[in-house]
Symmetry: C3
């Protein structure tokens, strides 16, 4: 939707990009797209790099799969295997083949001053020096602040209030969303395959979805997803200078105070309250109704209805007990 | 001053908004404004939600007060009580009645390019693409950087130096203030009454005052006050990416290093030094001549002349002792 | 290069600025520049304020040196000593004499819209509302994003990708550098001599050098050096909202996650990995192949090939052992 898809490409071409020279990969087989194990169709290529995804691997419908020798046995027999040493590097390369430029934030050449396109947005209020890209949708009664940029194909709902110096790209904002001054949303995440000669940037073909009634504070950054989306749930309020990395999914009715940081791909439940400057490591599951004290460092999953604090975070009662015994 | 006040409103109307249906609240009684217990006059309504403010309650001159059953006895007999379940929610609703739009950062429709208004600012130097609102005052020899926005009614003193990409609203800057690139000052704070259907944003009718000779680093955000002001004292220097929440009051001659965060409503004394990434919880009193080590998490008051470090912070000597015993 | 040098100035004038009234400081002796102990030539003045630099002091070629009584014996006999009480204050004052305005981020009066200068940059792609200063060099195939400012004398290499709302001043970017939206680079650092009447800002005559293939994430700030440069090494990737203070030198192939902060003048080796929200104190030496866990507070040097975590940071194995024993 935000990144133009190229292809189809032959399995041979894809295979060559992966530096796999197995001659069985025919020129006659065409690949339509690259998707994860669950969402790949019979025309797509997928990837399987960790035993953690064994059950998804068994059920994948993908035509082909980038994987490594020791994992191929978990895949369906009819799935064509492309065996490589570094699965994620090959996935990144194939991702770029299908979605060129998704590894950067390409300049949007379609931007025009809002004065030139305001006839298309009759019930929208624009500040000064606003730039709007092609195919942008903006709902009625929405206000777009001064010097703000809304890039191509972005969708903004009704009654949204967007501040000044905001940049929105690769994003869908539902109704009643409020972004304060200087929010940057939809930028490429911090994902790459390290290489001492030249790091290889991972494609970021996901988007950001900000659900109904959410608020994002001044100076916060929300990266778009890599292969999936970054999601902010309904009625979730986020304070200033918060950093939300790629693929993070935050539930509804959460309250996230200033300078909190989320590493990539964590799932945060509903009604979660996070104090200022707390940090949430990557790939964690934080339950519903969780409360995380300010300054905490969360490095493992947290079950529902739990209150934690500390670095690394522990149960709140334990934290207070230790603190009092230390004084 | 920055938000237009509506009213007067009848006590009945105010009472209805509070969802208090007590018939004694007459249509003939008019309310002029909403103010805190100490500053409310005989024509104003005030609010009293915590025993912490008992002594102010006893002395209030307010005509009426939003409070709850168990607190009404502390108020003067002649003060009309509006009893509600959720005092802060009612206060927010009444605040919005008197100050519509103070719960967001409304678009300033009065902004004009500095080229069009520069005759009014003969001794001011403007960069490119500067936007200036109505009734803005700027002192002589002040420089306003490129792409910067100065919204309506803002006052900037003499010899100030404002960087590029700065946004100033609802603020008063005294003389000799320096704001580096990308400072966002005067935005709405992170205050709301949580509601799983739709959070209710608290009005923010306070301003930001930056006193003589202060400096604010690049990317820092300073929220305006809710019912009071956010204040940065004289000759206080603040580094990059610092977050200062609503109602925080910082004294003079302080030094605040990068990425420090202040939760709301704390009072910081004079000559306070705060190391990088420290966090100060809300509603604290930090004394004069206090030194807070980098990365500390301050969760209780600190007396004058104290040096602390740690998360949570303890006396510096204790911290060093523990650290050495741990190595 | 970025700041115009004034002078030469007489030794008498320099001496007076230092509030040293020693009559031996002749009007006939001219000083060309102010430099550190190692780089000062026979025509320059230097400074020596700490025993830490004793060996450099012994070998300095400087014509004159600002120092204090107890240190003068370490300097070569023929070096003219200017004895003062507060060396750094005198150095700041003399620095401003030679480099006026280097203590702020002066407005660049030379900026022009890219449309007016694009003939000089035929192989460069500019977004909308870009401002470019005089003597700016930009290599071929470089893209400069919307609303971005490139100030005078900045050098940007080939194949660079600069996002929107970026401000670049006093900086050299080599080839293949990527700056995401809202990076602010080259601003004055947080350096001043505290004075309860009026802090005295230190000159910042250094620049920022971003080497080949580096990436800087959205909202990050990189301050220019004071007397030396701030350097980001080759192929080093930096995430969002990172703060890099003046004079920090980061090696090559480093990975620095979101919201990390560096205090001034630290040296970071090659292949260093730093987790989110970690803080690195000032004036430290961090070795090669060091790994620093997220949220850590580093307050002492770290040798090569070491993995640390914690606040303050300790060896990773120790940290995990303690954490497990606490659970």
């Amino acid at each position: 939707m935000f990144f133009e898809k190229k292809g189809p490409h032959t399995l041979k071409k894809v295979s060559n990009i992966c530096e796999n020279s197995d001659s069985k990969h025919s020129e006659s087989i065409k690949i339509d797209d690259i998707r994860d194990l669950s969402s790949a169709s019979i025309k797509d290529i997928t990837f399987f790099h960790s035993l953690k995804y064994k059950s998804e691997a068994k059920k994948t419908k993908a035509l082909a799969c980038i994987t490594k020798k020791e994992l191929e046995k978990y895949l369906p027999e009819k799935c064509l295997k492309i065996l490589v040493k570094n699965v994620l590097l090959s996935v990144a390369k194939v991702g770029i083949l299908f979605y060129p430029n998704s590894d950067i934030d390409p300049l949007d050449n379609s931007l025009l001053p809002s004065d030139e396109v305001k006839n298309k947005y009759k019930n929208v209020v624009f500040g000064k020096n606003v730039l709007v890209g092609k195919n942008v949708q903006i709902g009625k009664n929405t206000v777009i602040g001064n010097n703000t940029i809304v890039e191509h194909d972005v969708q903004i709902g009704e009654n949204c209030h967007i501040g000044s110096f905001v940049s929105i790209k690769n994003s869908i904002l539902e109704n009643d969303v409020l972004l304060q001054d200087n929010v940057k949303i939809g930028v490429k995440g911090f994902g790459f395959i390290p290489d001492p000669n030249k790091n290889f940037r991972a494609p970021h073909i996901g988007k950001v979805v900000v659900k109904r009634g959410s608020e994002v504070g001044s100076g916060s950054t929300i990266d778009r997803g890599s292969m999936t989306d970054t999601i902010i749930g309904e009625n979730t309020f986020i304070d200033n200078q918060v950093h939300i990395a790629h693929n993070v999914k935050i539930g509804k009715n959460c309250m996230i105070a200033g300078q909190v940081g989320f590493a990539g791909s964590s799932n945060i439940g509903n009604n979660v309250v996070i104090g200022g400057q707390a940090g949430i490591s990557g790939h964690l599951n934080i339950g519903n109704n969780v409360s995380i004290g300010g300054g905490s460092g969360v490095i493992k999953d947290i079950p529902d209805n739990t209150k934690v604090m500390g670095y690394p975070s522990i149960e709140f009662k334990e934290f207070i007990k230790k603190w009092k015994s230390n004084e």
